[in-house]
């Protein structure tokens, strides 16, 4: 069934080379986008928890804006709108960037900053989940605000949220496909191109699906490994957390579990 992938294309390559080059762009976007997202997300997440009203409001605004606009619209804003509203010289310079990079950088920025908003919420949840005594003990030892965050709060919060970051990792590699709308030939775009050239739609999309599944598996397993390495004893493991998170939310929000106490 996948035989067609090894046939020659018009440009002298094989179709599988198209797929692999698409995979390369997908991985590059997801990998570098992740580090942008992580760096910005941690800063914004901290901003959500500080006492300074100005920074807290700024961080909140960031999260609201980046979470409530569809990622595809954000992609267009970075690609089409940004060069237009910048000063002419800078805007034109951006438009002159040659093809693959001209869409790669906006896509990278878009995915990084979009995912950052989601990571920020996880970081905030992690910080808020820590017992207050941690910050108080740090204060009692004479650590200031910065040192408390740097040595006490952040290290623990980040270890706590590894399980919930798994879904963000999966989210960013799936969202890389949105970059095809601004002309980046990533995995999904290559699969579509192969299907259009060869009419072997089933094979083309099937191969792409298998690759995405493999990526999901790798992402999931590596997050499990990371979680195992940095896990805080006594807290829930990543393996169980997805369900637990939902269950906890259900029990917290719902009237039902409490009503059931009465029944008992």
């Amino acid at each position: 069934m996948f035989g067609v992938l090894f046939e020659q294309t018009a440009d002298g390559q094989r179709y599988i080379d198209w797929l692999l080059s698409g995979l390369g762009w997908t991985l590059a976007l997801a990998f570098f986008g992740w580090w942008i997202a992580f760096a910005v997300g941690v800063v914004v997440g901290i901003g959500r928890t500080v006492r300074n009203r100005f920074f807290a409001a700024l961080a909140r605004m960031y999260v609201e804006i980046f979470r409530n606009i569809p990622v595809l619209v954000q992609m267009f804003l970075w690609y089409f709108v940004l060069p237009e509203i910048l000063p002419d010289t800078l805007g034109n310079a951006i438009k002159q960037i040659p093809p693959p990079w001209g869409s790669f950088f906006p896509a990278l920025l878009c995915l990084g900053l979009y995912t950052a908003a989601r990571i920020a919420e996880q970081v905030r949840a992690g910080i808020e989940a820590l017992p207050k005594g941690q910050a108080e003990a740090a204060n009692a030892l004479g650590l200031g605000g910065y040192l408390t965050y740097r040595y006490i709060i952040i290290p623990q919060a980040l270890r706590l949220i590894v399980p919930s970051l798994t879904s963000e990792v999966m989210g960013i590699y799936k969202n890389t496909s949105v970059a095809l709308t601004i002309g980046l030939m990533e995995l999904t775009a290559q699969a579509r191109q192969i299907s259009e050239v060869t009419f072997q739609t089933f094979t083309a999309f099937g191969a792409a699906t298998l690759i995405y599944l493999a990526l999901a598996l790798i992402a999931y397993q590596s997050m499990m490994l990371i979680d195992k390495a940095v896990h805080i004893p006594g807290t829930a493991h990543a393996r169980d957390i997805a369900d637990q998170e939902l269950t906890a939310e259900v029990q917290q929000d719902g009237v039902v579990p409490d009503a059931m106490e009465v029944v008992k």
Binding site: I65, I69, P87, R192, L215, L217, P257
Partner: protein, 231 residues
Amino acid sequence: MNSLDFSIILQAWPYLWSGLLFSLALTAVASIIGLILGTCFALVQHFEVPVVSQIVRGYIAVMRSIPLILVLFWFFFLVPIVLGHLSGNGRPIPIGATYTAFITFGLFEAAYYSEIIRVGLRAVNKGQFEACQALSLSTFDTYRNVILPQVFRVASPIILSQTIILFQDTSLVYVLSLTDLLGAASKLAQLNGRLVEMYLAVAVVYLVISSAASQFVASLRKRYALAGVHR
């Protein structure tokens, strides 16, 4: 930098509005299909129906692991073929991008809703099932009148949050060249060259609707949490 002219948005508004209505309709239909189907998926897994529950689990895993755009391409290609087979004559039946979008989003969201409902089902106290047995309710009555209403009530904030995500995701029908809110804006932008104003306006509309909906969900969450405390 060209001067911005937002009066263009006013002129374009009727067309954008029709696009927005399509986005909302797609969200509504897909969430209804998704909820019904998702509930079935969750129940199949809950009862551990042999074979079917494994298939459902595999389906959910695949849907959650591949990008929505690829899912759209898949269904755009597969739905006419499957319909052709179902109708018996074996020839693909083209039903158009619009219906494909409704079906695709419904089937795609079913995977996500079913995960929410599956966990909700597990969160229901065992005593509820035992009480139903003691009242000798049939399995159907137990789930229809006792268990599922509680699951839906308890999970409603999460279901609504997922629906907000769905609303944002509907913008991806752009790849099928449909005229949703974003599609309408991009078609107009190609005609009048006002990319900046069009895309900014669309961003603001999405931002306002999604934030308002999120606020509503947050208030719902708070109300339920309070109700729990008072009991």
